[in-house]
Symmetry: C2
Subunit: 269 residues, 2 copies
């Protein structure tokens, strides 16, 4: 076993702590996850793990220990630290002694053409919890991936990763600009459905193709005008109360399940 790092100001430890900030994550194109279950999922889904951080005192004898031995066989770099150092990089109350630095994975826009099906495009989404929750729902309806337009919150932010409940490892991510996305859609004649609070068309009245892109706007501003213009149909969710809008992750879930339902009719058990 390698030497145990016991200084919280160790250069490698400091650099891992900095991954809490988006700047460092963007520059290094990696992200930090902690917890036995999530590290296990990264491994199971074949994500390139740069480094495993282990605090033997904190890891129990169960699944965590088993994972570590499995990763030793795979020759994954291991950083062994004492519990104090682990706590200094952890953002959890009861850290479990297992964390990993993992390479980010981004796909080019043309990847959409190789994976026909349902795609979700998010225009300048700001809340990491909403983004993670949408990844989780996207996985549930078997969507092919997410397209992030312009300045979105980082899907590799710890809040987004947590809310995704593992979907961060199964849902492909594409990052592009409004302009490039428009050009791509027009070039390939793809059906795109936009959602807007003010659209007169009830979302239940559209026939959704199995191969399509659902576009959702930012929490505060909704869809940008060029994407409104790009929409094959612009739909809204009817509302009966005082509120004039739904939470973005909830609204996305409701429309995604309408699309899912139309393509997978319910059958009596």
């Amino acid at each position: 076993m390698s030497e145990i790092i016991s200084s919280t100001s160790n250069a490698r430890i400091k650099s891992i702590r900095k991954l809490r900030g988006r700047k460092q994550r963007d520059e290094q194109q990696v992200f930090f996850v902690e917890g036995v279950r999530i590290v296990g999922e990264a491994l199971a889904e074949g994500w390139p793990i740069v480094e495993l951080i282990i605090s033997p005192e904190l890891v129990g004898d169960g699944y965590g220990r088993h994972l570590i031995s499995e990763m030793s066989h795979k020759k994954i770099n291991q950083l062994v630290v004492d519990s104090n150092v682990f706590r200094s990089i952890s953002t959890k109350d009861g850290p479990k002694g297992l964390a990993a630095v993992i390479c980010q994975r981004w796909y080019p826009v043309d990847f959409i053409l190789t994976q026909p099906g349902l795609w979700i495009c998010l225009d300048r989404i700001q809340d990491p919890g909403n983004l993670g929750t949408i990844m989780r729902t996207a996985d549930a309806v078997g969507a092919k991936g997410l397209i992030l337009i312009d300045e979105c919150t980082d899907p590799y932010d710890s809040g987004s990763v947590r809310s995704s409940m593992g979907a961060i490892f199964s849902i492909p991510l594409i990052k592009t600009t409004n302009q490039d996305f428009q050009a791509f859609v027009l070039r390939n004649h793809l059906p795109v459905i936009g959602a807007s609070d003010s659209a007169p068309l009830d979302f239940r009245l559209v026939n959704y193709a199995a191969n399509m892109i659902l576009m959702m706007g930012s929490e505060r501003q909704g869809l940008s005008e060029p994407l409104v213009q790009l929409s094959t149909h612009l739909v809204s969710i009817p509302m009966a109360g005082k509120s004039d809008s739904l939470n973005l992750a909830v609204a996305t879930g409701i429309i995604l399940y309408e699309i899912y339902n139309q393509n997978h009719p319910a059958r009596e058990g």
Copy 2:
């Protein structure tokens, strides 16, 4: 205008700061909100405001100033503080100089009988963001109120109030125990639909009555066994991906809109 409080250790200010904790809120049966829009909503919806906290330096000349003068007419107690004191009670980055302490409002279980329609029962829900988001969706579908069973997170927590986007003021809240709720449902022969990840019945195959109670379980544990047993039908949302569950607020939104859709068919515009 009253004297300006300039000490952050003023007894009244200290007591307001303590409302961040649930214990103090429970004991005093009040809650704290800040922001011009939300204070305006509380006023518009006729909630009993115990005290208004105003920092004239921070309040601009717009709607906030207008609200304050409106409340002076209503003889609402005003606590005038300097910007430093206001920042000490604020949890926001750019505090706007207007906050309020408001009386909590709870309804008895029998209130359900006076308000026939759709009710939502939440069993030991833990996340304030989820709770607030469900209030927001409840308002959107015109639900009559929320029933909180056993140890739920506090709807008057600042995170829940924030996520509710004002629905905290329009959605009646009932707090009760599992046992009392069961007795109430059985006594009044109310249709209750429970949601459970493992239920074999697809939620789209049920005919939902206009007057019914939808029961959702906690984020980690789902519905408790007695509520599963109580259910007229137990439904699940189909899932196609690797995830075995949806975010609770998203799942609630999806089922609520199915109930809404069945009772309000879409019409061509």
